[in-house]
Amino acid sequence: MLQVSLWKRALIILICLGAAVFAAPNLFYDQVERHNDAVATIEAGTSTPELEAERALWPDWLPSDLVNLGLDLRGGAHLLAEVQVSDVYADRIDALWPEVRDLLRAERSTVGGVRRMPSDDPGVLRIAIGNTDALPQALETVRTLSQPMQTLTGIGQQDLDIHLDGNEIVVTLSEAERLATDDRTMRQSLEIIRRRVDEVGTREPTILRQGTDRILIQVPGIGSADELKSLIGTTARLTFHPVVRTTSNANEAPGPRQVIYPSMDQQGVYYILEQTPVVNGEQLTDAQPTFDQNGRPAVSFRFNPAGARAFGLYTAENIGSPFAIVLDNEVISAPVIQSHISGGSGIITGRFTVEESTNLSVLLRAGALPAEMTFLEERTIGPELGQDSVDAGKTAAIVAMVAVLLYMGLSYGLFGWIANVALVFNIMMVFAVLSLIGGTLTLPGIAGIVLTIGMAVDANVLIFERIREELRTARGPARAIELGYEKAMSAILDANITTFITAAILFALGSGPVRGFAITLGLGIITSVFSAIFVTRLIIIWWFERRRPKTMSL
């Protein structure tokens, strides 16, 4: 008969109460959010009376997990960046050249002069030697540079691919090494973007790697995607190059292994520089905003020991000649070396404002991005539009809820109202679970909830219709209720499992707002089955136990 064991009843009641408690903070969203922020700041070590007041807005002992609002509801910026991972190949190859040169120079007597030849692909090193008869021997010598791969996936492979092309020795990174490099580049980029975004300190930024070479960045509350782009899109690659000469012709062709870069603040001035830098920003250990001796904003920096040595050696050998400080392919300044700089520190002067020098030091400290990024997708949602959507969604959800409750009540009377109680718990459960798992509510997600309101009654309708049918065959109320549940079960399960499959696929293959929709839809299916099978049943049994009706109509 209609029996549910005591512990089952207790569990069902417990789940319903839990849902109510954990969903509750979302009703006081603003208060709880301010409370959470205050708690976070206080835990970080600062405590002021204002913060304590904010903290008191919500009791500490109550749950304070909230549903995250998606960008479309809170406003903010979204960027999808593609990292130009192949940029890094060129750097690796450039760094390799001095080693190759030194190795071959040691055998100058047999191989003759060594020259680096221009290459169309910057990721390829081409070397010509004076005595072409010694090519096989030179090739063997260069091959000693190649190391076996150390990574798990690259075991048994070499990191360099070295072969002959005509009379030139060609050195490239092997396929396995390229993959390993790509992975490293991506991890560095993610780390550096994270550091930069954290420096501005916004709430809950999302920084995710997508696929092999993409990064998704979502920052709520930031003014525009442009702002975000200038923060993370700047490579901040600082290099120091020897200056060959200056020119005013932007189209002048630089010599082999030389580059032409514009001046950052002087219109029409171009510098022709040696392409290989003396030192680069990776060897910086610190950068701080400061002022030069004339009181103009500047940035001070310090090199690590290796950088300091290289810088010291170069300045000692080239006193009197200019060298260029280059940031992202623009020359900040090109001072003349006055003396041997041995301490490994210095300052960069240029026409900075205080803000610019502060930003530059932040970027230099956080580190340069290993490669450039291009932006494939960018979205800015204004906070007003987000708020509008939240308000509209709320109104719609409330109206939908009330209409459905009335309709169910009118159609099924007492049983309808029982189903309505379950429906209210159902919505609470969706919010409770979303809050606990830190799920994100998006605008389509609200649509998912509203749809759940409409569809959640389906399981109850199936059961009630079945009970009605069973009542007609006059078996008595208890038997009818039991059979109704039993026979409706297969339809309920099949119908909901198939819908759940589509929600799961949406979740797996969708992105952004669509994913938010899949989450609420999937959750709604699970909770609606739970509330139909357990919650309404329990309430009906209570009613039945108290009244013991001999007949009933539905």
Binding site: A225, T374, A396, G454, V461, A495, T499, L506
Partner: protein, 324 residues
């Protein structure tokens, strides 16, 4: 006690009677949808073809001509401007959507272009501000199309397998045919009304798939039960009986879902109106297709009625008798 009843207790409607006409109508509508899809094409949003979409809001009335004129000198190619209406907006709130075709071939739009667009629009109306700016590069939009197609195909495949396991292969084919019907007709109505088709609509399509399936499975479940219970009655009879038995439930669920969706359509704001429209449409076609596509195909393929004895011999014995 008062009860709201949309259907009387005992109905005996011959749903399957005119199946030739209704199935024919469905096939015709599908063919028409496919025809307009190729002849006219969908009004793709920037998610699927790249480009930039800017939402403007100002106190002065939207003047599409003036907007267009102020943007014309920039030579941005194809520009579409539409005014957005919503019952909750007063006369002080004038919203428009401006869509600009993709510039370049991989990246999203540059900040310079955006700034220029924004300043030139503000010369016409200084109160204008830009509540959302979205830009998708053609490289990503191409991938989004693939992903969307993959998502829909994967959903159909999974459903096919599940129903095949739980029911019979005839039911699985019937259900999937019904889903293809729903998706085709939804795309058709989007072509005819030239509504914007973006990523959210794919979510709506999959929800329609879910809803329609829900409905189909409930009907199938009852048919499966009745096929066993009434072994002697003809396949059409049993189907009609099952449809009548589940009629109240079908209408109740459609109504509650529609109530919720209509509330969202009217009050939920214009951002998701297209999405909600697709789902409302889906409730109608989904309910229709459960009967007139899914069931008809099961009828045509025939079902195994002799569940006790097993064997394939009984598999198609009813198809021949009814199809003539």
């Amino acid at each position: 006690m008062f009860r709201l009843k949309i259907v009387p207790d005992d109905t005996n409607i011959n749903f399957m009677g005119p199946w030739r006409y209704t199935f024919g109508l469905s096939v015709l509508l599908m063919a028409a949808s496919i025809a307009v899809f190729f002849a006219v094409g969908l009004n793709f949003g920037i998610d699927f073809r790249g480009g930039t979409s800017i939402r403007t809001e100002g106190t002065q009335p939207v003047d599409i001509g003036a907007y267009r004129e102020s943007l014309a000198p920039m030579g941005l190619g194809d520009i579409a401007i539409t005014q957005v209406f919503d019952p909750t907006y007063g006369p002080e709130r004038n919203v428009a959507m401006i869509r600009i075709q993709a510039q370049g071939d991989t990246e999203s739009v540059t900040p310079e272009v955006l700034n220029q667009v924004e300043t030139s629009l503000q010369t016409y109306d200084s109160t204008l501000h830009f509540t959302s700016v979205e830009s998708v590069g053609p490289k990503v939009s191409g991938e989004l199309v693939q992903e969307a197609i993959l998502a829909v195909a994967a959903a159909l495949g999974a459903v096919l397998v599940y129903i095949w396991l739980r029911f019979e292969w005839q039911f699985a084919l019937g259900a999937v045919a019904a889903l293809v019907h729903d998706i085709t007709l939804t795309i058709g109505v989007f072509v005819v009304l030239q509504l914007r088709f973006d990523l959210a609509i794919i979510a709506a399509l999959l929800t329609i798939v879910g809803y329609s399936l829900n409905d189909t499975v409930v009907v199938f479940d009852r048919m499966r039960e009745n096929f066993i219970k009434f072994k002697k009655r003809s396949i059409l009879d049993v189907m009609n009986l099952s449809l009548n038995e589940t009629l109240t439930r079908t209408l109740m669920t459609s109504f509650t879902t529609l109530i919720a969706l209509i509330a969202l359509f009217v009050l939920g704001g214009d951002v998701i109106r297209g999405f909600v429209f697709a789902m409302i449409w889906g409730v109608f076609v989904g309910t229709w297709s459960s009967v007139y596509v899914a069931a008809v195909i099961v009828k045509y393929l025939g079902v195994k009625r002799d569940w006790d004895k097993g064997g394939d011999k009984a598999g198609t014995q009813f198809t021949t008798s009814d199809a003539k």
